[in-house]
């Protein structure tokens, strides 16, 4: 995981549910690129292509609510999105994003301050987000969980552990 994430933002509102992020009919796929072709398409056919022009999503409350589908996170990654910053996340999306290696940040004050197309810089070492002249702090992930995200997700983390652990 990069220590600085930088990019243009696309802005969503509150309660963006995982059916909107990736409709159930595409859950037959797990490949990030393939899923991303349908990400947010219920909001309009042009959405998947349009979102490729942005690198960071900023959302309001309860991002990723609804279904526990892990592909919601995978589809966002497939769009080339490097981070999601939301006022709050649903717990299933929060877990899935970490396990899927998608960096997420909870920052309740950012949403109302940003506009679509703004530049954002996220500094992981300092736990700070820089926007225009302002900086916003976000809580650090618990150490026990950070390792998973930093290894690139739970599958990679497990694989690393399997390699390290002695054969029974």
């Amino acid at each position: 995981m990069e220590s600085i994430i930088h990019g243009r933002i696309y802005k969503f509102g509150d309660n963006i549910n995982s059916d909107v992020i990736i409709p159930g009919r595409y859950l037959i796929y797990i490949d990030a690129e393939r899923l991303s072709q349908h990400a947010f398409e219920v909001l309009g056919d042009s959405f998947p292509a349009k979102l490729r022009n942005y690198q960071i999503l900023v959302a309001g409350r309860n991002f990723g609510c609804g279904s526990a589908r892990e592909q919601a996170s995978t589809a966002i990654r497939g769009l080339g999105i490097n981070a999601v910053v939301a006022s709050s996340f649903s717990r299933t999306f929060y877990r899935n994003a970490i396990n899927d290696g998608l960096p997420i940040f909870e920052c309740p004050n950012l949403h109302s301050a940003v506009e679509e197309g703004d530049d954002l810089r996220i500094d992981l070492a300092q736990s700070l987000i820089f926007h225009r002249d302002h900086e916003y702090s976000f809580p650090r992930l618990p150490d026990s969980v950070r390792g998973i995200l930093e290894t690139g997700g739970l599958a990679a983390y497990l694989k690393a552990q399997l390699v390290c652990s002695p054969k029974p």
Binding site: V20, P23, T92, N96, K159
Partner: protein, 428 residues
């Protein structure tokens, strides 16, 4: 430090998570490594198998803790589905997963509870957000993704944050024509889709002890739509009775209760006798309205199904209203029983016959139209559904609309062809 702080009472979630992590206590906010009693995977099983193959793991922590139910797309409707299901079947055989239920069985949650795999105090995780339903029997159920399921298969454990708890006290009795679905739509509308995000909810009150296990399942299922991590209805005589005939090992009946001095972040009291039938309007479950404000809305399809409301009692409620009536000629009524056992019971009691004679189409048990498997909607169509989600595009066209209601409201509406108050069919 005062004695009260040392002997702080524990909520049900604190007790279950502490026990499964091998600790004597756990405080909200603490992250524990917990060992679930059961890890459920449904149609997503093949994805977890693919992760297992990718990382090169070949050993399960304990095959007895796995349950696999093929429910979301049943039977297979494409070669891809068929191949994915084949992967799941072969995996279950290879690793000796005894709790394997194929496409004939029904919705995972209902199947596992019917089969006696869910006991009070259990910790159950699974590839489905509506795992919260296990709280209807006093178990801690919560949803996780498919990669995490693989991780639990292999390591037997996962990290879990101990949640804060909210107490909801229900007083009174439902008026005629009002059900737990209406209560939950009311609560979701009042508290919002994230009203209980990451929280554990415990339900108390004289009303709760009056409620059937089926109605409790609807409550714990819909609690997910307020964002809960888990929801509990503390076990009582009804719970014990339900499980008596089902638990393989009666010694597994070990209810977990909160301490009298347990700490709750919030307490909410609802007089359920004041509730009216409620409807969730497109495209969010929190967008709820009393029936009077939406009555008259034209519908094209009525779907009686899902883990929220396709239990035997739900089919009976709908059949009582539909008996002697025929549905409106412009409405398709799709009935998808929650499980094979429910379907058999409804067949033997004549309920299925009533539903079919009234113009209903009865499908095989499973998730069906709720998850977009059959019963898809065209542009501009309107569906009234007893399921738990009305999100944009969930049942087909992105230009369709989904409303949610109780089985009673659904039956009354199917007869009239417009969203209708079920109380006209209740004579008491």
């Amino acid at each position: 430090m005062s004695g009260a702080e040392i002997h702080m009472g524990l909520t049900i979630a604190q007790k279950v998570l502490a026990a499964k992590a091998g600790l004597s206590s756990a405080v909200p906010g603490e992250i524990v490594e917990a060992y679930p009693d059961l890890v459920m995977s449904h149609t997503a099983t093949w994805r977890s198998v693919s992760v297992m193959n990718k990382i090169g793991a070949t050993k399960l922590f304990d095959p007895e803790r796995l349950a696999i139910v093929l429910d979301h797309i049943s039977p297979a409707k494409s070669e891809k589905n068929a191949a994915d299901q084949q992967v799941s079947r072969n995996f279950a055989k290879k690793y000796g997963v005894r709790k394997f239920y194929d496409v004939d069985s029904g919705i995972a949650h209902l199947v596992l509870m019917e089969a006696g795999h869910v006991a009070p105090g259990d910790l159950i995780v699974g590839t489905d957000s509506h795992c919260t339903i296990y709280g209807s029997l006093g178990a801690l159920g919560t949803g996780i993704g498919y990669t995490e399921v693989t991780s639990v298969w292999i390591t037997g454990k996962l990290w879990m944050k101990v949640p804060e708890s909210i107490k909801i006290v229900l007083d009174g009795r439902y008026a005629s024509g009002v059900y737990s679905k209406d209560l939950m739509l009311y609560l979701i509308g009042k508290l919002g889709a994230d009203g209980c995000n990451y929280k554990s909810v415990e339900l108390y009150g004289s009303s709760v002890s009056d409620l059937s296990v089926s109605e409790r399942m609807t409550i714990a299922n819909l609690a997910m739509e307020m964002g809960v991590k888990c929801a509990f209805i503390p076990p009582d005589e009804r719970t014990r009775e339900y499980l008596k005939a089902r638990l393989e090992d009666p010694a597994r009946y070990r209810p977990v209760y909160a301490d009298p001095d347990a700490r709750y972040e919030n307490e909410i009291t609802v007089d359920i006798s004041q509730l009216e039938p409620m409807v969730a309007c497109p495209h969010e479950v929190e967008n709820t309205k009393p029936i009077g404000e939406v009555a008259g809305t034209r519908i094209d399809q009525a779907f009686l199904g899902s883990c929220a409301n396709a239990k035997y009692e739900d089919l009976v409620t709908a059949a009582k209203i539909l008996k002697g009536h025929h549905i409106h000629p412009d409405v398709r009524l799709i009935i998808t029983p929650g499980s094979k056992k429910i379907m058999l019971e409804a067949m033997n009691s004549g309920v299925l016959q009533t539903l079919i004679e009234s113009g209903g189409l009865v499908t095989n048990p499973g998730c069906g139209a709720c998850a977009g498997d059959g019963g898809m909607l065209a542009d501009g169509e309107v569906c009234l559904s007893t399921a738990n989600r009305n999100f944009l595009g969930r049942m087909g066209s992105n230009k369709a609309q989904i409303y949610l209601s109780s089985p009673a409201t659904l039956a009354a509406s199917a007869i009239h062809g417009v969203i209708s108050d079920p109380r006209e069919f209740h004579t008491t």
